[in-house]
Assembly symmetry: D2
Homo-oligomer: 445 residues x 4
């Protein structure tokens, strides 16, 4: 078989190479999802009377086989077939003859790719829920183990007030909780079915779009066919954003960790197996893993922006620019699969140097507390502030003897865990729904 | 009064100028919200026994007066007072003497500004719900009036399939509906109270944070005090993003409109009062309003990215970099207030040139329909495609006589409107809740 | 007078407001340069016989008067006149009657604004040469004063090898030297005259463009009139980039300084007059000035990107989007005028804590030297590396007694200064040329 | 052999995988350049008496062999060896025994990679000079062939004034000429030698850095070793920027072309072999090649920004983040190698539809000329403008009979070509210099 749009002309080979680009590699990641979408389309054609039951069954079986082959790395997309859609239709035609040519009725590569990418994103966003929740759990575990260790709190990278290892770790857990909520919002956004909108202007065939959406486990039909095409880039941006936002939380942790584990701060260390060395300085144990979390967070953010500008200032309807939208989506999925486990490894294994932490708890950290204590005794706060400043200046400041109120760790951690539970429960229901739907479409894939 | 941190030293004037920057101008926009936050803090101090009822009442009354002055443009922030927090505390001290100095107990400018900006964002995000919903309504009105006019649908900026003015306008409505949903998510994100976390490490005073949150109408307490500071930049990014995403929808409409209203396409025109002219070409009627929607969407997106990078790679806890986070937030609010009304003006008033549209409905637009029709008659789609391609090539293609199925406008528009209703109902409840809360805190403001 | 394109219609006031935007404020910064460009245009019209000598003289004199008024803050651009071009032509007409209306023959606001912005950028780029050179000088001064102080050198934010305060400061000087070279390239880029290309397609009037370029002190004529319009955004990007690149150098210095002046590193301090304090923590002396150098560098980079995307994906020829190109240009000029003096203040005044530096010079810093020394004695480097690693691990490493070779400061600093001299000499010649040209055009401005 | 920093510990495999990342693939592109740098380093060690002549010769010969192997795709970098530096040192040790271990004396992977990437960039920047010059030549050829064809000139995407196909094509040639100048500036920037600075703090070995620079054909020594590391990211940004700026010129051409080749404008067409089709619309001939030039320009710009932010806010000295700087550099080289030939293909082969162009030359295009003609006859321009506006409004405008002055194509094109010649001559000299240098270092590579 040939390109789907083959009309007998021979394309210029340089231009062919230029337009095909990386599609044959990147589309391998979409084959599974295109098979699911195609199976749903076949069933929709069946319902419209355009395929009979046997035909639809045979198509579904062959699509399941393609999905299996792809899962085993045994489905190839030759350059001359351009993309996964062509390779799949070509495979179907080779296997099923004329029947393979029937699958494309009432659809276009435009709604087909929108559906495949949406299914890909939905599937990965669900994994992210697990990964993020697991990382929060890992942080909370560490807080429960070591959270009470005192640690200076910083503002302007300057010692400010008493804090603790637990407060610091919990801040990352809470920030990830916010991202978990955001991934939930992402899932809600993605929960609408683009299939059945053809090239962007609908199809004259009497396809039941609500039925297609149900088959694929989508809550909503994406009603307007032009909007389906216009939403490409837009939805992918939201997907990559969610990843970049998670990565930004890890990046802040990484930056803090690099700082707090310098020789000079010395609060934390990495165990040797998590460090790397220098080719010339035998003494070095470097936190490369954290530097790369930082750097890969930057890269992911940059890919988000790439998508935002890629989609900007394009006329409505499909434009070929959308080809380049797929790369950052697949990239984001891969990065998340690498970043979160690396993060957890560090959270579980990093060493807390309690002596260095204790030594860092200098009296000045209590200056604000001293001022607030005076305020509690009735001195207007601004006056109390100046009096403490004076005693610091005259070097005769001593922190108030009264200890800090007992920390409220247990409740705080419980509250975070409760929120995680609630948010992941929603995701789990969602997962069950779509898993059942996909299972039904491609039972043997 | 002086800087809040005055300890008797004279700051270098060049450095003072450099660090103060635009704060005296930008903070004027925050005075109202800082007064609300301060009133809630005063009531929390009262509950903790640190102020008595008369004191709290007097502070609340004076804060209301400041808010009124600010609303009338009569509250100034002198350069030497740096920011709105200092100017407000200074005003309170001038008006109430020693009592003014008591308001800052148990808080810091760090949680104070986090709260003021959050209240600002929440307030504007609610306005955006209205503005976006009104713009959707305006688009749907126009669809009801003129939506049936046929219009070519484009892919690759090439005539592709039959479409209509309504389908095109409705695509923008649906994209805005998605943004309305996203603004709802933003409101949920913002719905947690940062106040009571001090400089980022809590306060030793026994403040009831849940009470503060209730006073301010927040659903959740932002538990971790470090996370409160770390969330600066992060939450502001989400705010500016929501604006930039709305603007991106308008930008696509604007780009389409500029194209479809060229002399060459001629589908639409602007009435003279919406165009501008050239200083040397007397014949020109330029779509500057649409070019600027496009350009201002770019600018807004760039400000989003500015925030994303501003917050990146900073150590946790407050850093002065956060000063520059306020500008883009205020900017986004102003841009939204300008962009959406301009958009509606265009949507309501643009002229539809039905003759040009009719002339553009060339037979080739029906080629895919012809192929699908053959497919309906049992020809495998790929074969049907090649046969139609041949007839086009031999110039003897005639479109199938059967007309398009009647459009499903009424249902589609109703469904969009229903979704708008549901989403705005949530926003309205939210608005009622916070309006009541703020009213109670500053009854006379 | 009215808008230059007034044809009797009344524009919609909301749209008028939307399209005018900030122009009346921002354009105030361009009045001086528009007067210079206009004077050159008047002289070109004179040469073409379209104005007589008396007319050109009267126009030049009035333009000089406008430039003087603007310099004194006494030239206003009312909203209804939209921009500086209209306000200037309006002023000329009010002052000179019919003659004022003659100035616009053979030009357009399109080439007029391209010229004014180019003159603005050229003027500021020249200032940047001075500012950057002065900052390098300031750094080298400090190196000469305190450069020999030993200091650890870091990789991965970990102590790596022996370095010195001088080596660290000189790194910034060299990075700025590279930017000085880049500003020179910018000046070369900007050194071509856009005037005389009308709206972007030339003018039928016989204007001598080479003459105009000479009058304005430009080396080259920007030949292609379409390219003149297409270069808007493109050239402005280069201007803002040069500023952002300088700022990035300052940002790295600032980041280092914040780190090296933490309580934990303690190598450097800021004198009290360069620090700011906290509203609640009396002990704090914060490096806000350096945090804001970092943050303002981010903001400037973001504005560069704003321009890059603003200009992207626009059709060739003038588009109204270009209105928004002016803001970031003026912004960059202002930021550079603030950043470099702040930087110099810090470089001159920061305190070096020699005790802390000395204490930080731990033996491990010499591990690579030890390995290299073994290599000099014939041991293959990789083997020497492992042997030193072993002795570190067994805790019996002692650094080689031989001291470091004497630093080559004097030559290195001399070489840097020589390069600065050479690069600034080129800039100075350039400045003389354009100063003479502008003086001749507007002798009394 | 093992990792260069192997000290006997077993790294965590997940962290190893995470830190190694794509290096084994990307570094393959750097092997050739690392061999050149290593050969220069061996010769420098020889000059310092640390290797004898035979040793240096043997190393050089083996490095040449590695370079050849890499050129033939037969040099592999196993994951466990991390990067090209380790793989090369490992190969040398396998082939030459103990001598292989001597090459790393006095250097570090930090200056080694800086050198390899710089040589890579320099080599590709030189190719860009050729590619850009060839593209300009291709545009000018087309202008000479078809440039006189009249074509409307647009402002605001609205017909404005008479223009021509040649003026439009020449605008792209001139914009590319500016980029050719910029690539020259890039080459000047890159023309300094980082080798000999070790990990970023120099080397105690008496290496003659001026000699190393000469061996590699660099004009300058990059003096400060810290700056060498700090310039990573910075110089790479300039490299990717130059590519992105060239791509931006192509993108504008592509955008114009897509517009001017719509069915509605119809000025140009693509021959069938340069178009692609639709999977469902048999009539489509889509300009995918131009859409992808546009999209790939966006992607390249995004990678530039990725580098800018990657390098931002890092402490001075080497940080592992720099690993991710290599990818965008190699990417930019590949994109340029794809984009410029695709562009030339289009420029040479696109079809000019003279009938459509002629039909588009409507009388209104001459309105400004009419006003200017009145101005030449003494009517103040602003009055002439209004009188023409009136006649247009009353529909009795007829353009002035006098034809446009004959275009000045021959001179303009000659001038462009002359500039290209001059700029490429400089590049050619540069190329000769470095070619000779590299040839001498690795004679048989």
């Amino acid at each position: 078989m040939k390109r789907l749009w083959d009309k007998g002309d021979q394309p210029d080979s340089l231009v062919h190479r230029f337009t095909v680009g990386d599609d044959p590699q990147i589309d391998l990641r979409l084959v599974h999802f295109d098979c699911i979408g195609s199976a749903a389309h076949a069933r929709t054609l069946q319902r419209a009377g355009l395929l009979d039951g046997v035909e639809a069954d045979r198509l579904a079986a062959e699509l399941a086989r393609i999905a299996r082959l792809a899962g085993e790395g045994r489905f190839a997309i030759p350059d001359e077939l351009e993309d996964c859609h062509t390779a799949i239709e070509s495979h179907l035609t080779a296997a099923l003859g004329e029947l393979g040519g029937k699958i494309h009725a009432g659809r276009s590569r435009n709604d087909q790719i929108a559906a495949a990418v949406r299914l890909f994103m939905r599937s990965h966003a669900l994994r992210w829920c697990d990964e993020v929740a697991e990382t929060i759990a890992c942080l909370i575990d560490r807080v429960r183990r070591d959270g009470e260790a005192p640690m200076p709190g910083y503002t302007h990278t300057r010692p400010a007030m008493p804090s603790s290892v637990g407060l610091w770790l919990h801040a990352t857990a809470e920030a990830l909780l916010e991202q978990l909520r955001a991934v939930g919002h992402l899932l809600e956004l993605l929960d609408c079915c683009p299939l059945g909108t053809g090239a962007g202007y609908g199809t004259p065939l009497p396809l039941d779009r609500r039925h297609t959406a149900d088959l694929l486990g989508f809550a909503r039909v994406q009603r307007n066919p032009i909007d389906v095409q216009n939403s490409r880039g837009r939805m992918e941006t939201c997907f990559v954003r969610a990843a970049a936002d998670v990565a930004a939380v890890l990046e802040k942790f990484a930056g803090d960790f690099i700082l707090f584990s310098t020789a000079e701060f010395g609060f934390f260390s990495l165990p040797p197996e998590l460090t790397t060395g220098s080719s010339i300085m035998p003494q070095k144990n470097n936190p490369d893993v954290l530097e790369l979390i930082r750097a890969r967070a930057v890269r992911l953010r940059a890919r988000q922006h790439e998508l935002e500008w890629m989609a900007a200032k394009l006329p409505s309807g499909y434009n070929r620019d959308m080809q380049l939208v797929k790369g950052p989506v697949v990239f984001a999925a891969d990065e998340m699969a690498a970043l979160l486990p690396a993060m957890r490894r560090v959270v579980r294994m990093f060493v807390i140097n309690r002596d260095r932490l204790a030594a860092a708890m200098r009296p000045e950290l209590h200056a604000a507390r001293a001022a607030n204590q005076l305020a509690q005794q009735g001195v207007p706060f601004r006056e109390a502030y100046r009096s403490v400043a004076d005693s610091l200046r005259r070097d005769n400041f001593s922190p108030p003897s009264e200890v800090c109120p007992p920390s409220r760790w247990p409740e705080m951690l419980d509250a975070t865990e409760e929120d995680v539970c609630e948010l992941t429960r929603v995701a789990a229901d969602y997962r069950d729904r779509i898993f059942a739907a996909e299972k039904k479409l491609l039972p043997d894939a």
